[in-house]
């Protein structure tokens, strides 16, 4: 009896699965991927220089920035939250890091200026971004503030600090000075490993880590559970507050990383860096199939979503489409993708039923 129930159904299912309907289902599921291929094909045929190595390198760098933010955003959205502050934290961290390089830490009481080592600056900046995220998470969990509001507040605060740091001016020329031992900041943006830019490596590594965290770690499972049914998760013993604070901290960390990369790429820090980046990140997450209600989605999807957004943006620029039309097209694509998502669910049901009629 036991054996029968265990062994019988599984192989039956497998055999039945290799049908044309299964191919249909695959095509529907991989919609973000298909969108990506479509975007590539269209642009390649319309603009000859689209598929050149130089262009692909530039595009990947753009994609990496959005993808890194989107990874953190995915964690947040999976819990049913949202993080509007990522773009501002990018700008704030860039300004703080730029200031540390050009001006050091000024201690007038002691009459000295400390110039931290570049490594120290990178670590401090990452810690700062993580802390800003943690503060959002703390406000959300401790005082029961809606994530939209808490991170909207953080959006303004962080952007304000970015401007305050240098009275709205840019920190130019972030190359440091050999005598202070703080050179080498530009390597993060310009350096390559095996011919591939560091930012692209970071995107790959972080996606992989985030993928493992969401699929293989208890913490990842808790993130999904909170998004699915927070009360049930709590009653099961999931530490809601701690998990949420970690999630917003991750998002803050990713933002800080992006802030450093951008400042390094430009070798300058501008207070407006990262403005409206949060919207691109949210778009990538949603395009990748993650539900804004929380509890459903994947890191792989987010990565593809980031590629679609990035390639679409750069492709339109290369084709010489006006920036106004770019926005119209981008908006339409995002909404269309979500519509396809809804249609897909219904299609799958119909396909399953159709499959059965055929079997009869």
């Amino acid at each position: 009896m036991d054996q029968e129930t265990k062994t019988n159904p599984a192989p039956m299912k497998k055999r039945r699965n290799i049908t044309k309907t299964d191919v249909q289902q695959f095509l529907l599921r991989g919609r973000a991927f298909i969108a990506l291929i479509l975007v590539f094909v269209v642009f390649t045929s319309l603009t000859p220089q689209f598929l050149t190595t130089g262009n692909i390198v530039i595009m990947s760098k753009h994609v990496a920035i959005n993808a890194l933010l989107a990874i953190g955003m995915t964690f947040v959205i999976l819990t049913g939250g949202i993080d509007l502050s990522v773009g501002s934290i990018v700008g704030m961290v860039a300004m703080i890091a730029g200031g540390l390089i050009n001006e050091g830490i000024n201690l007038p009481q002691l009459g000295i200026i400390i110039y931290p080592h570049t490594w120290m600056i990178v670590l401090l900046s990452l810690a700062l971004g993580t802390l800003m995220g943690a503060i959002s998470g703390f406000v959300i969990t401790r005082f029961n503030v809606a994530p939209f509001i808490a991170t909207l507040g953080m959006l303004y605060v962080a952007r304000g600090i970015a401007g305050l740091r240098n009275n709205g001016y840019t920190f130019p020329n972030l190359i440091g000075r050999p005598e202070y031992g703080n050179t080498g900041f530009e390597i993060l943006g310009a350096g390559n490993f095996l011919g591939v830019n560091y930012s692209i490596w970071l995107m790959g590594i972080l996606t992989l880590v985030a993928y493992i965290v969401t699929t293989r770690l208890p913490f990842g499972r808790h993130v999904y559970a909170i998004g699915g049914n927070e009360r049930a998760a709590e009653l099961s013993g999931v530490r809601i507050a701690r998990s949420k604070i970690i999630v917003y901290s991750i998002s803050g960390f990713c933002s800080a990383l992006v802030g450093l990369i951008i400042a390094s790429q430009l070798v300058a820090a501008h207070p407006a860096t990262g403005e409206s980046f949060e919207l691109n990140a949210i778009a990538a997450v949603v395009l990748g199939g993650t539900s804004l209600a929380g509890g459903r989605g994947s890191m792989g999807g987010t990565l593809i979503g980031a590629f679609v957004i990035g390639v679409l943006g750069d492709g339109l620029v290369m084709m010489g489409v006006s920036s106004f039309w770019q926005k119209v097209i981008k908006g339409a694509v995002i909404v269309l993708a979500v519509i396809i998502d809804q249609v897909q669910a219904r299609m799958q049901e119909r396909i399953a039923l159709q499959e059965q009629q055929e079997m009869k």
Partner: protein
């Protein structure tokens, strides 16, 4: 008391067995005293039963023992030492597990992930998927169910979800297991399995706290019985010394003789005619397999069957909740062509769904708003809602169904489980239906409220309404129905009039298509 000289008298023996004590617990909610100076002892290796009417405070006491709520006054002693429970995690550390009355599961996670939520098995920090899945499968087998551990929880029916909730509690190694109405969505066969498991746990010394409104069930499994009424303890007894009438007497303070009465009513013309209602199952086979039947005016038509037999699917179809179903429906001789739920409600079908939490109630709204949600159009003045009439209609339903609520503007979540159920029934009645579809309407409600709902069914039948009554409670179906249809694997496998129906016949018909011992083939292709 390991004193070798003293002869262990009866007193000491009893004290020694007590593992957990709630002492003089009082719990005050804004506007309600849920518990008043209640003491409750839990004996090791025994089934400690707690009963009482809806809103008597049973779940509240359990939530206090599980660390979800904190008592206003009183102490909790474990092994004679006072303990502080600040969160469910604390209770867990002390070995206290709980199956909640309202299921607490994540619909977006798989069955395995739910079972091990917050207690994942890990190997070097990573979730060990394989051992988890194996243990989950083992637990499900122990519960004699066929649920795929990788299935999404949201795709399971309510009864199956309850099984998962039980499996989740069993997966933990607990000393004390609280079961707050674990069988409310289970049918007799599954209850038997659960009882077998409870006996196993008892023999291993686990203390069980068991809450249910099914009184026969309590006497069958219980060892010690504690009765609450209005937040106070009114009686305590050993199960072997008492019987059902005594229980009812203590619980409701009323003569139990006239609780289940069915009135003979005159049947009229054919009200509803259903032909070849069919719905395929996504995994193969049928959820509904060419179901045809008739319902007369003034008739109470009972549907009996095992979990997943298709009864809920059938009433869902009639209510318009399953657009993919095919078949013909005639109401008063006229074909029903409308397909959406709101149009079906207008033509006179209304469903009281089985899962009140997910489908019956909007958790964020008040009692009144929930009650009126399906019939808002009736309370319009111009384009505005007429607050006065809304209030009047709500108050009337609250009175007729005797819902225990301090104020209709209270949030629905402040009501006890059974009172929430009454609100769902009231919501259905306010649409003034012609055909009332009741899917397990007595789930989780006390004997008094049950008799009130039966009274309403009788009244509606006398007014020539048609009532379809889905229930897994043999006694209730037998007592209330003019005619009983039995379903198994999506098909009707038996039809009995009130006179010819017996428990044996219903059970036999409900097992058609199932192999011996509840197992058997995958889908009823043979039917």
């Amino acid at each position: 008391m390991p004193d070798p000289t003293s002869v262990p008298g009866l007193e000491t023996a009893a004290v020694e067995n007590i593992i957990l004590t709630a002492e003089n617990i009082t719990k005050i909610f804004p506007g309600t005293v849920a518990l008043e100076d209640v003491s409750f002892s839990v004996r090791q290796g025994k089934v400690n039963v707690l009963i009482g009417e809806n809103g008597a405070g049973k779940s509240t006491l359990m939530k206090i023992l599980a660390g979800v709520e904190r008592p206003t006054h009183g102490r909790i002693l474990l092994d004679g030492r006072e303990i502080q429970l600040h969160s469910p995690l604390d209770a867990n550390r002390f070995g206290i597990g709980i199956i909640y009355q309202e299921l607490n599961l994540c619909a977006n996670l798989s069955v395995v992930d739910n079972i091990f939520l917050a207690r994942e098995k890990t190997r070097s920090g990573l979730i060990a998927h394989k051992p988890q899945r194996e243990q989950a499968r083992e637990l499900i087998n122990r519960l004699e169910q066929k649920i795929d551990p990788d299935q999404l929880l949201g795709d399971l029916r309510l009864g199956e979800q309850q099984i998962v909730e039980i499996a989740k509690a069993l997966a933990q190694d607990v000393r004390i297991l609280i079961m707050d109405e674990p069988t409310s969505a289970l049918s007799a066969a599954e209850v038997e399995v659960l009882f077998r498991i409870i006996r196993e746990l008892k023999s291993r010394g686990v203390a069980i706290i068991y809450i249910s409104h099914k009184l026969e069930e309590l006497l069958q499994i219980g060892d010690y019985i504690t009765i609450l009424r209005d937040g106070r303890k009114v009686a305590e007894a050993e199960a072997k010394d008492i019987n059902v009438p005594w229980l009812i007497e203590k619980m409701v303070g009323r003569n139990p003789a006239n609780l289940f009465t069915r009135k003979e009513h005159q049947l009229g013309n054919v009200l509803l005619k259903v032909e070849n209602m069919t719905m395929p199952r996504a995994g193969g086979g049928y959820l509904l397999d060419h179901v045809s039947f008739e319902l007369r005016e003034g008739e109470i038509l009972g549907f009996y069957g095992l979990m997943g037999a298709g009864r809920s699917d059938l009433v869902d179809c009639l209510a318009g909740a399953r657009p993919q179903a095919t078949g013909r429906i005639q109401l008063n001789g006229q074909p029903v062509t409308v397909t959406t739920i709101s149009e079906r409600i207008e033509s006179g079908f209304v469903l009281v769904p089985e899962d009140r939490q997910r489908y019956g109630l909007v958790q964020t709204l008040s009692v009144m708003d929930n009650m009126l949600l399906a019939s808002l159009k009736k309370y319009l003045k111009g384009i505005f809602l007429a607050r006065k009439e809304e209030k009047a209609a709500t108050d009337q339903q609250i009175k007729e169904l005797s819902v225990r609520v301090a104020n209709p503007l209270q949030p629905i979540t402040a009501l006890s489980g059974g009172n929430q159920q009454k609100v769902v029934v009231g919501k259905g009645l306010l649409t003034h239906p012609k055909v009332l579809l009741l899917d397990e309407p007595t789930r989780g409600i006390d004997v008094g409220a049950k008799s009130e709902i039966f009274e309403i069914m009788n009244r509606l039948a006398a007014q020539k309404y048609g009532v379809i009554f889905v229930s897994s409670e043999l006694k209730e179906v037998l007592a209330m129905s003019d005619r009983i249809l039995v379903m198994s694997k999506g098909a009707i496998t038996g039809e009995f009039s009130h006179q010819e129906a017996t428990e044996e016949k219903l059970v036999a018909a409900s097992a058609v298509g199932h192999g011996p011992s509840n197992g058997g083939n995958h889908h009823g292709s043979g039917n």
